[in-house]
Assembly symmetry: C2
Homo-oligomer: 420 residues x 2
């Protein structure tokens, strides 16, 4: 049975900070940047006193900044002290969880105008401690003591996938190459370079230092050379992994009947799904993420749509294998066919199912609590036709976001429609 | 303007673990205890497959147990893997924030039956690290480097209060003595002893060891003697402070039209308020908590009630001064009169405004993420007339909970009504 909420909700503003490593900025500073940009995108203007509540996705400022209870601090920092301010956490899906709960709060009738944000400031800690903090998104009682870290989890899923579908590991390289191509066109991305750019600069650096200059003739050759692209946890190499990042993103949600007071081009949230799961060890499959398939089904049902109706998708490519699994969990391609689709360019900007036109987590960066909201920023730009050089053709009208927490203990899917 | 939600919500089950220090139990184990008891309280039975989502209040398992992303783990642990499971965090108000958001989700029409829980497992860390973890509920960029810890914050509020109203510090002792009296009658409380019991056992211990036996002739004398009751941050002594605790609590929420399918004695949530604030340094007053007054006003307005209509209240007595401020912020007594009311016994079980009949955070214990939900457990018992020896007279029908995060950067107030 499909359940509907009692009131629709629209996105009428969207902004984000630059993603990257910013030693001089705290999560507060980054959120101010996102908030200011969001305000500037509200076509008919926003009086901040209209904002009735603040929903914030954040994974673990507790560990990254020794700062819990961050939501009221950030509300105060942007001049909104007084309004209800709360943090929502489901690891790397925290941003989308915040979006979903804020939507439900508006649907309940209690609020009309809500600020939703996501933020994470990860680069202050030494990298070993970052890995430990991220590990707390898995089951630290059973999984972590067995020796897993996140690259290991996704490597296990990748080997299961390769084995089950007799797939080529080159598919992973194709995902990374595509996402870097898109990220190179996104001024907010942490990496504004294509893999070809990176090869070029490595060659130049070698030449300048008098070392032997690598002879890679194309990106796939570079990707397969551990001297350029070291293994992290086979088959996941360095360039299969999303980076450690700082960043923030913010969107403004309003009740549907108020949307046109703010813009003539609102994006309506027409579908929402969320599901949970046990630890990786408790699942029947490692070659897909069951919570993603479940959340997608809920979202499609609520929207009355199928995967064929989606013009573009921002999916959770924390590792390249994750994007391939997502493309199947979301129904874009049949089981076991996602890797072929990636190799055939079907998920490129001009493909049949454009995925991660923003550069994805891989190239845009992955400040974990912000990633779910940053996906909405890309949807906002593409559906409104303001994505610049990376704008997809065909006047896209419907987009999907897919945000995973941990190894899929959480997945949240949203579907957006432009109505103008 | 008072806003109403589009659909009412009722509590139809409520349970909690014993609160205390449990070295052999994790937060999962504690939550299982709370969940099992909650299930046993649903008069007409609960089929767990009816539960559609899990909202969990937790302050910082990240720091206490090195485990973030706890909600799906706990959902899986009680056999509910698959349903949306999320953590809500606003420091010590996390439990009430979860309750509020779960209510809004039901009001939105998306869910009919939701499990709400709160949990914290604090005693595994060395006490210095517990203090550091708790400090992250304040502003760690500005307040903590100035030397504050939480007893210091509330001591600053207490001295401001004493000064502003020329109040007697003995009022604090009266709060503690009362709450220990109530806690002694609560089998789930961490401290089942009155202050008189504690004096007695201290005397016995001294005699057994051949030390001089203290000569305290009454509780106030004990309270004023640093040899029995050392200063922590003057005027807050050891027995003014709530303890470090492990514990969990759970309630079942359902849409109002379904309540009688579960029980003939539902408790309706008729008022809800939440407000935020900046750090302590940013406020106009230290002798009250502005976010509490604001949240209370919202809740009273929504319920169409005043403080006179409240038959009993569970308030956030993390320190004794906090209970006195709460009794004024909630409107039970005029500004500057709360300390006199405490000394006059007006907040005792047979007083005009019974407060913390459970023993409060002081005696019941304060596993921070669970405290807001544990307040609802007491409301459940008192309004249904099953609070045993501590049951208040007069067939109470309306109760209030008041849950503070940090020094009041967050406050959440709820009002419940029994309708049978």
């Amino acid at each position: 049975m499909t359940k509907k909420t009692k009131r629709g909700v629209a996105v009428v503003g969207a902004g984000m900070s630059k993603f990257g490593a910013f030693p001089d900025k705290t999560s507060r500073d980054l959120f101010v940047e996102a908030y200011q940009e969001m305000k500037s995108t509200v076509d008919k203007g926003l009086d901040p006193s209209q904002i009735e509540a603040f929903y914030m996705g954040n994974f673990s400022a507790d560990q990254f900044e020794k700062q819990a209870h961050l939501a009221p601090i950030i509300a105060s920092w942007v001049g909104l002290a007084g309004i209800p301010a709360l943090r929502l956490e489901d690891a790397c899906a925290s941003g989308s969880v915040a979006l979903r709960q804020a939507s439900l709060a508006i649907a309940s009738g209690l609020y009309d105008v809500v600020l939703v944000g996501g933020v994470e400031k990860m680069t202050d800690l030494p990298i070993g401690e970052v890995t430990d903090a991220l590990a707390s998104a898995a089951d630290t009682q059973f999984e972590i003591p067995a020796g897993f870290t996140f690259p290991g989890f996704y490597a296990a899923m990748a080997t299961a996938y390769l084995d089950e579908y007799d797939a080529s590991p080159q598919a992973f390289a194709h995902v990374s190459i595509k996402n870097h191509k898109n990220g190179a066109l996104n001024e907010k991305a942490q990496f504004n370079q294509t893999i070809a750019d990176i090869m070029e600069s490595k060659k130049k650096r070698a030449a300048a230092k008098g070392y032997p200059v690598p002879t890679w003739s194309n990106e796939l050759e570079f990707f397969a050379d551990p001297a350029g692209n070291p293994n992290i946890a086979w088959p996941m190499t360095l360039f299969d992994c999303s980076p450690v990042s700082d960043g923030a993103a913010a969107v403004l949600l309003v009740a549907e009947e108020l949307a046109y007071q703010f813009t003539d081009t609102p994006l309506y949230i027409i579908g929402s799904g969320q599901a949970s799961d046990g630890a990786l060890t408790e699942r029947d499959t490692l070659s897909g993420i069951p919570s993603a398939a479940k959340a997608a089904r809920q979202a499609y049902d609520m929207a009355g749509l199928t995967s064929d109706d989606i013009d573009l998708a921002e999916v959770h490519d924390c590792f390249t294998i994750a994007e391939i699994m997502a493309s199947e969990d979301l129904g874009f391609f049949p089981r076991g066919e996602g890797w072929k689709a990636a190799m055939a360019g079907m998920t490129a900007r001009d493909g049949v199912h454009p995925i991660n036109t923003s550069g994805g987590l891989k190239a845009k960066g992955h400040p974990v609590g912000a990633s779910g909201i940053a996906q909405v920023i890309e949807v906002w730009k593409q559906l409104r036709g303001v994505a610049g050089e990376r704008q997809i053709a065909g006047n896209p009208r419907i987009a999907l976001t897919h945000n995973v927490g941990g190894t899929g203990q959480t997945c949240v899917v949203h579907i957006f429609e432009r109505r103008d």
